[in-house]
C-alpha cells in the first residue's frame, strides 16, 4: 500500500491534535502514504492537498462539535474539484452533545461522506474499511 496516499487533518477551527497524531501513526504502520495537514484545516486545504498528492482518500476529523458547520458542502466541493474517485471518511465527535449516531451518520452521508465514524472509534476499523473500499488485500 506504499503508493496509496491518504490526506488527513482536523477541519475548521478545531485544534484537537492527539487523535490526528495517532491516525497518522496508524496509517503509516499500515503502510499508507500519509499527508497530514494537522489541525485547523479548511475544506480548500484538504482538496488542494488531495489533488496535489493524487490521494485515494481523505480522512477528515472533527472533534470540537462544530463539524456540522465546517463540513457543509464538502462532498460537492470535492466533486467540483474533480475528486470523484476519492474516498471521503469523517470521524470524531461530529456534532454537539451526546446523541444517537444514526441521524448523525445520515447527516454526514448527505454531505457526501462515504463513511462516518462515531465518537472514540478505533482507527483500526477505519483502516480496515479503507482497505476494503480500495480493494486492497489484508
Amino acid at each position: 500500500m506504499g503508493n496509496t496516499t491518504v490526506v488527513i487533518g482536523v477541519i475548521g477551527a478545531d485544534v484537537h491534535a492527539v487523535g490526528n497524531r495517532i491516525i497518522d501513526y496508524a496509517l503509516r504502520q499500515a503502510d499508507f502514504n500519509v499527508v497530514n495537514l494537522g489541525v485547523m484545516v479548511s475544506q480548500k486545504e484538504f482538496v488542494d492537498a488531495a489533488i496535489e498528492t493524487k490521494a485515494s482518500a481523505i480522512f477528515v476529523s472533527s472533534l470540537y462539535g462544530q463539524g456540522e458547520l465546517d463540513c457543509r458542502g464538502f462532498g460537492d466541493y470535492c466533486k467540483e474539484a474533480g475528486l470523484n474517485n476519492v474516498l471521503l471518511y469523517v470521524g470524531g465527535n461530529l456534532v454537539i452533545g451526546k446523541s444517537e449516531f444514526a441521524p448523525v451518520e445520515a447527516k454526514f452521508k448527505a454531505m457526501g461522506f462515504h463513511r462516518v465514524y462515531p465518537p472514540g472509534s478505533d482507527i483500526a476499523i477505519g483502516i480496515e474499511d479503507l482497505k476494503a473500499d480500495l480493494g486492497l488485500g489484508k
Binding site: G12, A13, D14, V15, H16, A17, V18, R21, I22, Y25, G38, V39, M40, Y64, G65, Q66, E68, L69, N93, V95, I96, G97, K98, S99, P119, G120
Partner: protein, 481 residues
C-alpha cells in the same frame, strides 16, 4: 512584548484599535465599566470567593458550560448553580470567537436560532456584547469567569470585563500552544500583556479581577514540570502588568501521589518566583482540573473518573476544582449531565473536606522531583531570555527547553514525549531538549525501565499510545493486553 508594565497612554491608544475589531467594541466605556464592577457585591466576586475558600479550607467546584444563545445560556448556568451546586460559574466561549472569526460566530448564532439548538460549542460573548453579558451576570448568584482558549483575547476581555465577569482564564502561552497552529508566540504574549494590563487597570481602580493561566495545556500526559513552568511564566507576565489575584492550574495525571505533589509544588514555586521578582503581594490560589484526557464512554465509568478527580482535588488542597461530566467522551454535556458531574464532585468535596491532608514521604519525594525539574526549566529559560519574562518564554519554546506534549502549535518543539511509569505517574520517555540534569534524566529512565521490565517490552512510542487510550479503556497505565 515588553518587559515592564505597559504605560497607560500606550495602553489607552491600543484600546482604540482593539475596540474596533467588532461592532460591539464600541459598547465598552471603561469608566462606566469600572463603576459597574464596583457595584457588584462581594459574594459575586471571584477574588472574594477564592479568599474565603482558602480561609475555610474548602475546595470550590466549577463546571465548564456555554451555548450559543443568551436565554439558553442563562438557563444552563442557572441549572448548574441551583441543581449542580456550582460555587463558581463559567462562560465557555465558542471556537469561532476563540479564533476571532466573529462572522462565522454570527452564522452559528443565526443557525442556532433557526434550528432551535446550539450549533456553537460555546457562548459567543463578543457578538452578543456588553449588555447581554451583564444580563447574564445579574441573573446569577455566584461569580462568573470567562473560559475559552483564545490566542488573541483582547476584545473578548474588554467586553466581558465591562460585562461584569470577575475572572478571566488564559494566557499568552497556555492559550496559544494547545489552542492554535500558526500563532506567533510573540504576538500571543503581547496580546495577553494587553489583557493583563487591562486587568491591572481595573486593579488600579480598586477592582480585583482574578486571572487564571490555563493549567492543563493539551490535557494529555502533560508532566507537572511543564505545566508548572508555563503557569509560573504566565503569572510573572500577569503580575508585571498589575494583576494581583492569580489562580494557577494543573490537570490531573491520575497518580494520586504525583497529583498531590503537583498542586503543592505549583503553589510553592509560583509564590517563590513571584517573590523573587518583587511580586510578593500577588495572591496565589490553585485550580485542579479533573482528568483532561480521553474519557470512558460508559457513564458509570466516567463518574468514577470524575469522583477520583474530586477526591484528589480535595486531598491536594486545591482552592477549586474544574469538573467534567459523564457525557465527556461524547460531546458538550446537557445541563443535566453537567449538573450531575457537579453533584458527584460536591458530594466528595464536602465528605472529604474534614479529612486531614496526607503527609507522606512519597509525596515529599515527588515534590522534590517536580521542584527540581521545574527549577531546571525555569532557570534555563530565564537565563536564555535575560530575565525578560516574555522573551524567556519565546526563546525557551524555540529552544525546546519547554515542550508541551501533543501540542498543535508550530512554535512548540514537540520533541519531548511522556509516558507513565509503573505506578502511573507521568514521566518522560524522550526528553527532547528539556534542560534536565543527569540525575533527573536517570530518574526518569529508571522509572520507565521499571515499567518496561514489568511489561516485558521495550520503552517505545507504543507505550505512549497505550497510555493515551488507557483511562478511556478503564486503566491508568496502558499495559499490553
Amino acid at each position: 512584548m515588553i518587559n515592564k508594565k505597559m504605560p497607560l497612554n500606550e495602553f489607552m491608544a491600543l484600546r482604540e484599535e482593539v475596540l474596533k475589531q467588532w461592532v460591539t467594541g464600541k459598547e465598552v466605556d471603561l469608566s462606566e465599566a469600572i463603576a459597574y464592577q464596583k457595584a457588584i457585591k462581594e459574594s459575586k466576586r471571584f477574588s472574594f470567593k477564592l479568599n474565603q475558600a482558602v480561609n475555610d479550607k474548602v475546595t470550590l467546584i466549577q463546571p465548564r458550560a456555554g451555548v450559543a444563545l443568551p436565554h439558553e445560556h442563562k438557563k444552563l448556568l442557572k441549572v448548574l448553580q441551583d441543581e449542580g451546586g456550582a460555587d463558581l460559574l463559567p462562560t465557555t466561549i465558542d471556537s469561532y470567537t476563540r479564533h476571532n472569526r466573529y462572522l462565522e460566530a454570527q452564522t452559528g448564532i443565526d443557525e442556532s436560532i433557526r434550528t432551535g439548538k446550539s450549533l456553537l460549542n460555546g457562548f459567543p460573548a463578543v457578538n452578543h456584547g456588553v449588555g447581554v453579558c451583564r444580563d447574564i451576570v445579574e441573573y446569577l448568584d455566584v461569580p462568573l469567569q470567562v473560559r475559552h482558549g483564545t490566542p488573541d483575547a483582547r476584545l473578548l476581555a474588554e467586553i466581558t470585563l465591562a460585562g461584569g465577569f470577575t475572572s478571566f482564564e488564559g494566557g499568552g502561552i497556555s492559550y496559544n500552544i494547545p489552542y492554535g497552529k500558526n500563532n506567533s508566540l510573540e504576538k500571543t504574549i503581547t496580546d495577553w500583556q494587553y489583557v493583563d494590563r487591562l486587568v491591572g487597570y481595573y486593579e488600579e481602580q480598586g477592582i480585583t479581577i482574578n486571572r487564571e493561566p490555563f493549567g492543563p495545556l493539551t490535557g494529555t500526559l502533560v508532566p507537572p514540570c511543564i505545566s508548572h513552568s508555563v503557569a509560573i511564566l504566565e503569572s510573572l507576565l500577569a503580575a508585571q502588568q498589575g494583576c494581583k489575584c492569580i489562580t494557577v492550574g494543573y490537570g490531573q495525571c491520575g497518580n494520586q501521589i504525583q497529583d498531590i505533589a503537583a498542586i503543592r509544588t505549583l503553589e510553592l514555586l509560583t509564590k517563590d518566583y513571584l517573590n523573587r521578582f518583587g511580586y510578593g503581594d500577588v495572591r496565589i490560589t490553585t485550580v485542579f482540573h479533573q482528568w483532561m484526557g480521553g474519557f470512558p464512554q460508559d457513564e458509570a465509568k466516567a463518574y468514577a473518573v470524575i469522583a477520583w478527580g474530586a477526591a484528589t482535588a480535595v486531598l491536594s488542597g486545591a482552592t477549586k476544582v474544574i469538573v467534567k461530566s459523564p457525557h465527556e467522551a461524547f460531546g458538550v454535556p446537557t445541563a443535566e449531565a453537567n449538573a450531575n458531574g457537579l453533584k458527584t464532585t460536591k458530594q466528595l468535596t464536602a465528605m472529604l473536606k474534614d479529612q486531614v491532608a496526607f503527609e507522606n514521604p512519597l509525596i515529599k519525594e515527588e515534590m522534590s522531583i517536580i521542584e527540581e525539574e521545574t527549577r531546571c526549566i525555569m532557570e534555563a529559560v530565564l537565563n536564555l531570555g535575560n530575565y525578560d519574562f516574555g522573551l524567556s518564554a519565546l526563546r525557551g519554546f524555540e529552544a525546546g527547553l519547554i515542550d508541551v506534549p501533543f501540542a498543535p502549535a508550530q512554535c512548540n518543539a514537540n520533541k519531548a514525549l511522556p509516558a507513565r511509569d509503573n505506578s502511573g505517574a507521568v514521566r518522560f520517555l524522550d526528553f527532547g531538549n528539556l534542560p534536565f540534569n543527569d540525575k533527573l534524566k536517570d530518574f526518569h529512565r529508571k522509572k520507565l525501565k521499571e515499567r518496561a521490565d514489568t511489561e516485558r517490552r521495550d520503552v517505545s512510542f507504543q507505550m505512549v499510545i497505550d497510555d493515551i487510550y488507557a483511562v478511556s479503556k478503564g486503566h491508568l497505565v496502558g499495559r499490553p493486553r
